[in-house]
């Protein structure tokens, strides 16, 4: 009787060992396969995305010959993007020091002589929704921004009113900035990291936090 029990116990142990091996195998495959895919769709890599300071863009956005990662990224976001043949859309979710943008802080977006025929900067929440504010201010373009005599401009991102180019952030929580450059020759040709360093984009400086 004891011998039978011992054999059954051994058999059960072998089955549990095999099942746990398979469970570990499947778990690793799922985490590795789906996780790496998710990462590549969200952040991209040097082949698909271009990072210039806090700004990032997808190199083959809106193009017919876009790679599968770019396609999946924009299918997930459900946006309608212009091709990189004529425009570049940059997104920033952190400041120039790498800290996440948040509505509890005040930021200065400073730039000059952007190489584009037309550009715009829009403040959004991290889901891409506009931030409700009584002033109905959501965006500045190269036509509407107040530029200093030396050609520089500063846009202030803050909860409360500020003089000059002010974009209200309300109580949106995490923020994202969208910048579109139309016919930006430098932006479009910036296909490698070395070229990216030559692209002149605004800096985002944290001024204060509450």
């Amino acid at each position: 009787m004891q011998f039978v029990l011992h054999r059954a116990k051994k058999k059960l142990q072998a089955i549990v060992l095999k099942v746990s091996d398979w469970a570990i195998f499947i778990g690793l495959v799922l985490i590795g396969g789906l996780g790496s895919s998710y990462y590549m769709l969200s952040a991209g890599n040097s082949l698909t995305a271009l990072n210039v300071g806090p700004w990032s863009t997808w190199k083959h956005e809106g193009r017919e010959d876009a790679d599968p990662y770019t396609r999946a990224h924009f299918a997930r976001s459900g946006t309608l993007n212009l091709t990189t043949d004529i425009a570049n859309t940059y997104l920033a979710s952190s400041d120039s020091d790498g800290l996440k943008l948040h509505s509890s802080c005040e930021y200065e977006i400073s730039g000059s002589n952007l190489e584009a025929s037309w550009w715009s900067v829009t403040a959004l929440d991290d889901q891409g929704r506009l931030i409700n504010n009584p002033s109905d201010r959501y965006t500045f373009t190269s036509d509407t921004v107040a530029i200093s005599p030396d050609g520089t401009f500063t846009i202030t991102l803050a909860r409360d009113a500020r003089p000059g180019n002010w974009l209200p952030t309300g109580g949106a929580g995490r923020l994202a900035l969208s910048m579109t450059l139309l016919d930006g020759a430098a932006a479009i040709s910036g296909d490698t990291e070395a070229e990216a360093e030559k692209i002149n984009l605004p800096t985002i400086k944290r001024v204060a936090c509450r």
């Binding site: 809106g62 999946a72 993007n81 043949d85």
Partner: protein
């Protein structure tokens, strides 16, 4: 024979590695399976992830007709990241029955016209130039070759008009973007947007 301590340690390591050979095979199999899953998940993502921009906009856009969208506001933002830096006029085209004619003038810099397929690709895009009006005439034909009516020449009519640029696409959305130049320019911008022509051609 005595071995050097380092050699002994190396031998021990080799023996241990040899003993886990079946596990190495398992690791390789896991890596291969991860790769396959990664490729499948990436390729399937566009079909599995939510509604595309085309699907979201389709209900508000009648086929082959122009719609000038109201200014984008937090209460009226049909797509995420659709920014109010431009005003939009859209036309959902479908060339299943007839070709679609598009006529538009881009009065200056910041203006753009783009044809987006349901997958989000731009099959055609153009921008306006500074202090120059860019006139665009497009004829959108289906991607498959089929009879789309007689040409004016075949009907014995001399066609003296400038030939439009031909773009091949079955379905999609044409988006005319007009830059926001401030409140004072809103009536001018809206008037220019409403000049955008997008209509199905009459087949003879």
């Amino acid at each position: 024979m005595t071995l050097h301590p380092l050699a002994e340690r190396a031998l021990g390591l080799l023996k241990r590695l040899a003993s886990i050979r079946p596990d190495l095979r398992l690791v390789l199999a896991a890596l291969a399976a991860m790769g396959i899953l990664h490729i499948c998940a990436t390729l399937a993502a566009p079909y599995l992830m939510g509604r595309s921009a085309f699907e979201r906009l389709s209900p508000m856009l009648p086929v082959n007709s122009l719609v000038v969208l109201p200014a984008v506001t937090p209460e009226n933002q049909p797509l995420p990241f659709l920014t109010p830096d431009v005003r939009y006029a859209m036309c959902r085209y479908d060339t299943a029955q007839t070709p679609v004619s598009v006529g538009v003038e881009l009065p200056g810099k910041g203006w753009s016209l783009a044809l987006h397929t349901p997958k989000g690709d731009n099959v055609y895009a153009a921008t306006g130039e500074d202090e120059r009006v860019t006139s665009l005439r497009l004829r959108i034909l289906p991607t498959t070759e089929r009879f789309m009516g007689l040409t004016p020449e075949a009907l014995g009519v001399a066609d003296t008009s400038e030939r439009p640029q031909v773009v091949r696409s079955d379905r999609g959305i044409i988006v005319l973007r007009a830059p926001d130049r401030g409140r004072a320019y809103i009536p001018l911008t809206e008037a220019a947007l409403s000049q955008f022509k997008c209509a199905a051609e009459k087949v003879r």
